[in-house]
Subunit: 232 residues, 2 copies
DNA sequence: CTCAACAAAGATGTATACAGCTGGATAAGA
DNA sequence: TCTTATCCAGCTGTATACATCTTTGTTGAG
């Protein structure tokens, strides 16, 4: 919670408007579990933290409502939603299908830049394998999602891919923390396969690799979440 | 533009909050071409019309930004975006794929209520065939989209289906106005096929019928839009 | 001791004033 | 006449005051 009190402003050097930056930051915090499900976001607090009034904060929150990750009730506050097992299943079923479409729907050509990016990610993942850190894993995965999204030519598919990722992220990252270094190993393998697919400029393969590993990810979720059900 | 000046308020009898109702109304006006692409939406005007201040209007507009149908620029206004041919193609490619998923991804069982709804729509479409009216056609089609969306069990697929519909709607409805009663005939056929599929409780068939007619729709768009390119 | 009514604190929802930005009209100079 | 600088009307962006709703703790009677 107060881990962010030190940050008075958000980086707006990218030319985006301030409210867009705030929106992305809040979304990141939800996906990365800085805001855990059930937590109450107070506009006044966020306003103080970002050094603006409540108005842009309300704007930012309002613009991520469509993802269904937060819910605002009058007089109460904005709470981060806990996804039901059914919802999680729906999200993953959808992601599997979307992954299958990556290669077939007007993909972009892979460039040298993409190869550099994937290689950097692979190296980082290999380092992570040696000394696992959940936060670093999460940020690595996030960069990978960005890379994949960039390869998608179809505007709408790209949008849907990102939306599905945002909805899956927090659950997936919770499981990743529990699973530990096992997921780093899996990520290294995924990145190796993606790198080869990109080298061959085979976007269908890229999609299929994603599909496979999304399936693995969902298996881990069901495994770890059924354990947690006993706890709760 | 001033066709709406008479409506001072929006119907909030459904228990939804006022801003949600405004949001839906603005979205409807964009999809139904009451607001044509290029038009400038002014918050102050809308505020007067709906009898509220600018704040809820801004909220409502902010919440439909993610659909990419409007674009707000500081000091200028919020303009309704003109979709490029590429974007339209992307939307329709996506709708084709989504239609194929309707039957396969946890569909809901068809109930008697659904049959009543589809029968009502069919009767209305048959009437429309006799005396075509673009506006009535548009509203009929909108009801059909609602019906189909209700049949989708997967939460995320339903959300994506609606988003894709909203993005396609304005273009499709422009073409429908140009095409005239031809589209009413096509709608009757579509509804007949859907009715039979629902009677058999065959959701895969429902999806395939949608897929077929979305394809027909896109063919019409390319046909009429290439004509319009010469005009412009 | 229990329960109900009430009051107060704190959250979001809304209205409004003002600041900042943009595009076009206007007028001065070459 | 053409160009350019300036000004201004009008829009969005932001801050702030106030209204309304919810929760919770308190206080009183039974």
């Amino acid at each position: 919670m107060n881990a962010f009190k030190s940050r008075n402003t958000v980086d707006t050097s990218d030319g985006k408007t301030s409210v867009e930056a705030i929106q992305n930051e809040i979304l990141r915090r939800i996906c990365f579990l800085d805001y855990e499900p059930g937590i109450q976001l107070k506009e006044a607090e966020l306003a103080v933290e970002f050094g603006v009034s409540r108005t842009p904060i309300r704007d930012a929150i309002g613009r991520i409502k469509h993802l269904g990750l937060v819910e605002t009730r009058n007089g109460v506050g904005t709470v981060v939603v806990t996804l039901t097992p059914d919802q999680i299943r729906h999200v993953y079923e959808m992601r599997l299908q979307l992954a299958g479409l990556i290669g077939t729907m007007s993909p972009r050509e892979a460039t040298g830049k993409d190869l550099v990016r994937i290689t950097d990610l692979l190296n980082a993942a290999i380092e992570l394998e040696l000394e696992f850190d959940a936060r670093a894993y999460v940020e690595l995965n996030d960069l990978l999602q960005d890379l994949i999204a960039d390869l998608i030519g179809n505007t709408l598919l790209k949008s849907f891919w990102r939306q599905a990722y945002f909805q899956a992220a927090s659950t997936w990252y919770r499981v990743a923390s529990l699973a530990g270094s096992e997921v780093a190993l899996s990520l290294v393998q995924e990145l190796r396969e993606l790198k080869e697919a990109l080298e061959r400029n085979d976007m269908v393969a890229v999609g299929l690799v994603q599909r496979i590993h999304i399936g693995y990810g969902y298996q881990r979720i069901t495994r770890f979440l059924s354990c947690r059900n006993e706890e709760t």
